[in-house]
């Protein structure tokens, strides 16, 4: 079941298209990675899900019904723009923001104290926020998103500015919430984080959706069927092997299989014929897929622009 459904949503800012016909869903107890280069439209998309901006076209459905202001109480949000009341005490700010999420003051205070304890900030509860380090402020802001035990959590770059110890701490919090049934949209540029935590990914570029699916699906669509093998067998004899290239002084080979051929079948065939000392299916890192898609999209756009200008030039000549 989907907790959030974004259906053909578009948004423009005064003649600039920020999001164009984006559709995706966030399933129950799922972590969805939202990827895209800077200025791709991620923040606009998240702001629309939070009801901060309204879509020009399309619809956002939350918990089975069109998004309403009341849904804000069920969604936790850590925006990319970090900000808190710097002059005020940590606990006071958390209590106030908890109340705005529909909690009673006493409850908000109690839950805030629990989270401060979990994130090792209990001793700073009465300190003004401006006295906290950037990383500590970042954790306080994360607590704001978690206070109301949200059903959906939207995190925009949750690990930026954190040291390795705190990165681990925050990752564990995300995992714990996920296990407890929370659905998460994780917007980040850290591909390893997506590979580590996310079930599915959505990538947008220049406002358009360019990739959407589970990590496996994304990879299988993008992988070039590259396998590393160490064997004495003659690999060229197999008819579905596209190319063989020796590496590591001729002991190992880079083998590219025909599209649609599973690496598992290749391994079974090799084992039936002789000894295989090393076998590795080469997975394209998500980062490479990201860069490849962004470059491809930019090239396509450049091509379109060239076509347009050439066409324009011809029109003028005509």
């Amino acid at each position: 079941m989907s907790v959030i459904e974004v259906i053909e949503v578009s948004k423009s800012y005064h003649e600039k298209l920020a999001v164009s016909d984006v559709s995706f869903s966030l399933k129950e107890q799922e972590i969805l990675g939202l990827l895209g280069p800077n200025g791709a439209g991620k923040t606009t998309l998240l702001r629309m899900i939070m009801g901060i901006f309204y879509p020009d076209r399309g619809e956002i459905v939350a918990f089975g019904k069109p998004l309403t202001p009341e849904d804000k109480n069920k969604i936790g949000y850590l925006p990319e723009e970090r900000g808190l009341y710097l002059k005020q005490k940590v606990l006071d700010v958390l209590t106030y923001l908890g109340q705005l999420k529909g909690m009673e003051a006493a409850q908000a205070r109690q839950v805030s104290l629990e989270w401060l304890e979990k994130l090792e900030l209990a001793s700073r509860a009465d300190a003004p926020i401006e006295q906290l380090s950037k990383g500590m402020q970042q954790k306080v802001q994360l607590i704001v998103a978690l206070l109301n035990r949200p059903k959906v959590l939207i995190l925009d770059e949750p690990l930026s500015g954190l040291d390795p110890v705190n990165i681990r701490l925050v990752k564990n919090v995300i995992r714990q919430l996920h296990q407890e049934g929370c659905s998460v949209i994780l917007s980040t540029h850290q591909m390893n984080l997506v590979e580590e935590l996310c079930d599915r990914v959505l990538m947008i570029h220049q406002g358009k959706q360019v990739l959407y699916g589970s990590l496996e699906e994304v990879r299988s669509n993008q992988d070039s069927n590259l396998v590393l093998v160490e064997t004495s067998l003659d690999l060229g004899q197999l008819d579905y092997v596209q190319s063989v290239e020796p590496i590591s002084e001729g002991k190992r080979f880079r083998v590219i299989l025909e599209k649609g051929v599973e690496a598992k079948k290749f391994l079974q065939d090799l084992l039936s014929k002789g000894e295989v000392k090393y076998f590795e299916v080469f997975r394209t890192p998500l980062e490479d897929i990201f860069i490849q898609l962004v470059s491809q999209s930019q090239n396509d756009r450049a091509g379109l622009n060239n076509d347009d200008s050439q066409k324009g030039g011809r029109d003028e000549q005509d």
Partner: protein, 430 residues
């Protein structure tokens, strides 16, 4: 608790706890009190001097004064506080009642009198020349010009003494009394019901002071409140917390909550100012005749005025990048709101005239203008519901439009939108 209530409560508490707010709330009236006291000291000293016994020298070359009448006349010049009030109320014109004790010293020659003046034995010397009866001219000699009229009322004493002396045994006692006080004007002015009623000095004074007081009260309250609104909003913009807030509440809830909370803080501040500044003149309150309608109307216009001008200031103020820029945007509306103050005398002369009505129907100026008109007690009562209705509609519209501006302004961090963009966002929501 509704979100608007939570926001307004927080905004109110945070604002009243600010050091700047506390200093302004108690410091500004104390500053003005100190300044006022410093200004009052010389006046008070001078008044004391006026009220203390005056020693005057008289040289009567014309031989018209009957000095034996001076003692009885001096008795009439001793008054008390009640005499002073009744004079202020216009019940009598016995100005001599609060002039003080008069001591007359007669000298036979000008030289002798001026010698006494030099020695400080008298405060001044009146010389009645030989040709007084012919010309009516009396010479006054003093070391320096008295700041309080002609030697603090002594001239009135001398005038009465001359009348008493000249008419002595020539006319009967009743006529002599009338000659002393030939006329006492009792003024009657037509009221709203068309009846002529006796005027009242303090009442008349309050007709000028009260409208001014209320109009200034509203104006200052709006100025301070909008300054707090802009300051709070600029801080939130600079702290980048708006996105967090708008992920929990709507921009309209945030906007209204801020106006209520900070408007409350502004009103509280002004209430404190009133308490501190006005207790010294509370003894005058019984003489300021205001009906309950003025107070109720005043509160309604006060609240609607703050809601309208607060929303306009905040909405337009949100478009500024920094505090000073936001303040400039907000100041425009504050200046528009106080325009009726500049037409004070015109509105007071004709509280139901064209200009008064124009400013009353124009929502931005109506709180200040109606406050003036209401306190004259001569306002056409039909104008009250009309102006309130227009003000309510304008406030509603302003909150609608300005909360949009507010959303655009606060989310466009560090960027000032162009007027073209502003119009674009007003037509379609962000």
């Amino acid at each position: 608790m509704s979100k608007i209530k939570i926001i307004s409560k927080r905004e109110f508490i945070v604002t009243v706890k600010r050091r700047g707010y506390i200093i302004a709330t108690f410091g500004i009236p104390l500053f003005f009190l100190v300044i006022g006291l410093i200004a009052l000291i010389p006046n008070w000293l001078s008044l004391q001097k006026t009220l203390e016994s005056k020693k005057m020298g008289v040289v009567d070359y014309a031989g018209v004064l009957r000095l034996e009448l001076a003692g009885k006349l001096a008795e009439e010049f001793k008054g008390n506080r009640a005499d002073f009030y009744s004079y202020l109320m216009g019940e009598n014109q016995d100005r001599e009642k609060f002039i003080g004790r008069i001591e007359l010293r007669a000298y036979s020659s000008k030289e002798e009198a001026l010698g006494a003046l030099e020695k400080g034995e008298v405060d001044g010397v009146y010389l009645i020349p030989k040709n007084y009866l012919e010309k009516g001219e009396v010479e006054l000699y003093q070391k320096s010009k008295s700041p309080i009229g002609r030697l603090g009322g002594f001239e009135l004493f001398l005038r009465r003494l001359l009348v008493a002396s000249l008419s002595y045994k020539r006319v009967d006692a009743a006529l002599q009394k009338r000659l002393q006080k030939p006329m006492h004007t009792v003024e009657f002015v037509r009221d709203r019901e068309g009846e002529y009623r006796k005027t009242h000095f303090l009442k008349d004074l309050s007709k000028v002071v009260v409208p001014y007081f209320f109009a200034f009260l509203l104006m200052f309250s709006i100025l301070t409140t909008s300054a707090y609104l802009i300051q709070g909003m600029s801080e939130e913009k600079e702290n980048r917390i708006m996105e967090i807030l708008l992920s929990s509440v709507s921009s309209q809830e945030l906007f209204i909550g801020k106006i209520i909370g900070l408007g409350g803080a502004g009103l509280l501040q002004f209430f404190v100012w009133m308490l501190i500044c006005f207790w010294p003149i509370t003894f005058l309150l019984p003489f300021i005749p205001l009906s309950w309608k003025v107070f109720v109307g005043g509160i309604v216009y006060f609240l609607l005025g703050i809601a309208l001008l607060g929303s306009l200031s905040t909405g337009f103020g949100a478009l500024g990048r920094r505090f000073h820029e936001s303040h400039q945007f907000a100041m425009f509306w504050s200046m528009v709101c106080i325009i009726p103050i500049f037409f004070f005398s015109v509105i007071l002369d004709a509280p139901n005239g064209f200009l008064a009505r124009f400013f009353s129907y124009l929502p931005v100026t109506s709180p200040v203008c109606m406050m003036m008109r209401l306190s004259t007690e001569r306002v056409d009562w039909l104008d009250i519901p009309i102006s309130i209705l227009l003000l309510v509609l304008a406030t509603w519209l302003s909150i609608k439009v300005c909360s949009r501006l507010f959303r655009v302004g606060v989310l466009l961090y560090g960027r000032k939108p162009s007027w073209k963009e502003i119009l674009y966002w007003l037509r379609r929501d962000l």
